[in-house]
């Protein structure tokens, strides 16, 4: 099967991911359609991490020996790779965190403390109804702690942000606008530039959750006009073919310098006296303690791998697979896709409902055929509530997904319908 836009070297790419060779109980081959949850890892990421542990392991920054120097160099080289991956204006603006959740919490926590950007009563924080819980709960905590007010963009029936209220939502009271670039449930791609321009015009800072965007959209922060460039951007390593335990917060130097430290500890200081301490500059100011060294190095290899294939090509592949999947899913009786139906306007995560079968039961039947999908609320309960559904089934593709895997999904959904005897009253 050839589909326009597919990665030309798809067969070779699939060979890079050893797990795709796996068979599951009953000898069925794995069909992995849960990449929005976590992506699989290419051999080069695994090898880079093993090589580091086997040959270069030492703590960074504080070890005055050869291994320490090698380890530090590898860790800082990973920062350079991540900076290049997102086109960061400065490599020191890249902060390593544990995951996207920690990156978002870092921002929402430091805005509580005294500083140039401190949020207080009367201030407003604007989010959206399609956020992952990781971009809702930290802001609820912030508003509870500061007396500020949380507001949000609602959604249209076709799963886009309802921008008709933008003038009422983003006002001179707005201190922060935080939103996802690509929805992990609806797949929607949000107009980041337009919203950032509007927020900047009222002096608010913009935080973008790029957890689902970084895997599939080319990001070039330096190329964005300053008025349209977010101030902070978070993503998580394990969704960009990197390991778990590592995430990224990019922030403009101006904003990061204005935020007080997050966690205190080793490496984040300039000097420590019993009476008080002074802090290191960015990025170290926000990296207290021994970081996930080998995970950061693995992430560096991961983003290099993606950059080598090319994010434009990966995006085209995702669009082609998503379009093909939308078409296939539409052929299943009683199936409703949640979110935009136009493959060009969405990412590669497709949530759907199947009349008469609960998502859990769908996922269980699919699993018996080796097909891995996600069932539940995908950490986006408010977005589900908006569409009056309690949970959904989500398939998500990535650069290694083949059209035949979508065919297998569609066939397995037909089988699910017959298993639950949906055509019999």
């Amino acid at each position: 099967m050839t589909l326009e836009g597919l990665l030309p070297e798809l067969a070779v790419i699939r060979k890079d991911f050893p797990i795709l060779e796996r068979t599951l109980a009953g000898g069925v081959p794995l069909i992995y359609l849960d990449s929005a949850n976590t992506s699989q890892k290419p051999q080069v990421v695994i090898d880079t991490m093993v090589d580091h542990l086997e040959h270069h392991n030492a703590n960074i920054a504080r070890a005055m020996h050869q291994l320490g120097a090698e380890s530090t160099e590898a860790f800082e080289a990973a920062r350079d790779k991540v900076a290049a991956f997102i086109g960061a204006p400065e490599r020191d603006e890249v902060i390593f965190t544990k995951n996207a959740s920690e990156a978002l919490n870092l921002v929402a926590n430091t805005l509580v403390w005294p500083g140039e950007r401190q949020v207080g009563p009367g201030d407003e924080i604007v989010i959206t109804e399609m956020e992952h819980h990781s971009n809702i709960v930290p802001w609820q905590l912030l508003t509870q702690r500061t007396g500020a007010t949380l507001r949000w963009f609602g959604l249209t029936d076709d799963g886009r942000l309802d921008l008709s209220t933008i003038d009422e939502l983003i006002t001179e009271r707005t201190k922060v606008v935080s939103l996802t670039w690509v929805s992990n449930m609806l797949g929607t791609i949000n107009p980041i530039a337009e919203i950032t321009r509007k927020a900047h015009a009222v002096g608010a800072i913009v935080v973008v959750d790029a957890s689902q965007a970084a895997p599939q959209l080319p990001i070039d922060l330096s190329a964005m006009p300053v008025e349209e460039r977010p101030d902070l951007l978070a993503f998580t390593g394990h969704k960009v073919v990197g390991p778990t335990g590592i995430g990224v917060l990019w922030g403009s130097r101006a904003v990061l310098d204005a935020l007080p430290p997050f966690l205190g500890g080793g490496e984040m200081i300039e000097t420590v006296r019993m009476e008080g301490s002074t802090y290191a500059g960015i990025p170290h100011k926000f990296e207290a303690g021994t970081p996930p060294i080998v995970e950061a190095i693995g992430l560096g290899a991961a983003v290099d791998y993606l950059a080598h294939i090319g994010l434009d090509a990966i995006h085209a592949h995702e669009k082609a697979i998503t379009g093909y999947a939308l078409e296939g899913l539409r052929s299943v009786k009683g199936l409703t896709v949640l979110g935009p139906l136009d493959a060009a306007a969405r990412g590669g995560a497709i949530s759907f409902e199947l009349d008469g079968v609960h998502p859990h039961d769908i996922a269980q039947v699919l699993d018996s055929r080796g097909i891995a999908v996600r069932a539940g609320h995908h950490c986006a309960k408010p977005a589900h509530a908006r569409f009056g559904v309690q949970s959904s089934t989500r398939m998500s593709s990535y650069l290694y997904t083949e059209p035949r895997e979508i065919d297998a999904l569609v066939e397995a959904l037909e089988y699910t319908r017959s298993y639950f005897k949906l055509d019999r009253a």
Partner: protein
Amino acid sequence: MTAQDLDALYQEIILDHYKKPHGKGLREHAGHTAEVHHVNPTCGDEVTLRVHVSDGVVEDVSYDALGCSISQASASVLYDLVVGKSVDEAMAIHQAFLTLMQGKGTVEPDEDVLEDGIAFAGVAKFPARVKCALLSWMAWKDATAQVVAGDGDN
């Protein structure tokens, strides 16, 4: 999991209860009732369940549940098994069901006690689904304890 495992999980009895649940819907009663709302945070399954007890007997269990076939069917079986029993007997049935579900597939269920509930023996082998099967049962225990303790709505 294989196709056979799938059939072990989705016994015909379970699918029948799922399609035609017994006792579903919330009903009003005068006196001794308690209502609870339980949620399975990992999947979002929810149940609102009311227990009505009179003279030490479970007179009614009524419920409104959102969830998968396993959680819906287990609420239906719960209704069949505990309504009309004394609170003590019902608690013993609850214990037998709990033991079955927590037995990782090693417990041999007693059909005299659990009736259709024995169909859930297959579910016990799927750790991810045990919580689904127990959702309404845990809600029932909680509500019943409240009525018995007199915290319910008298």
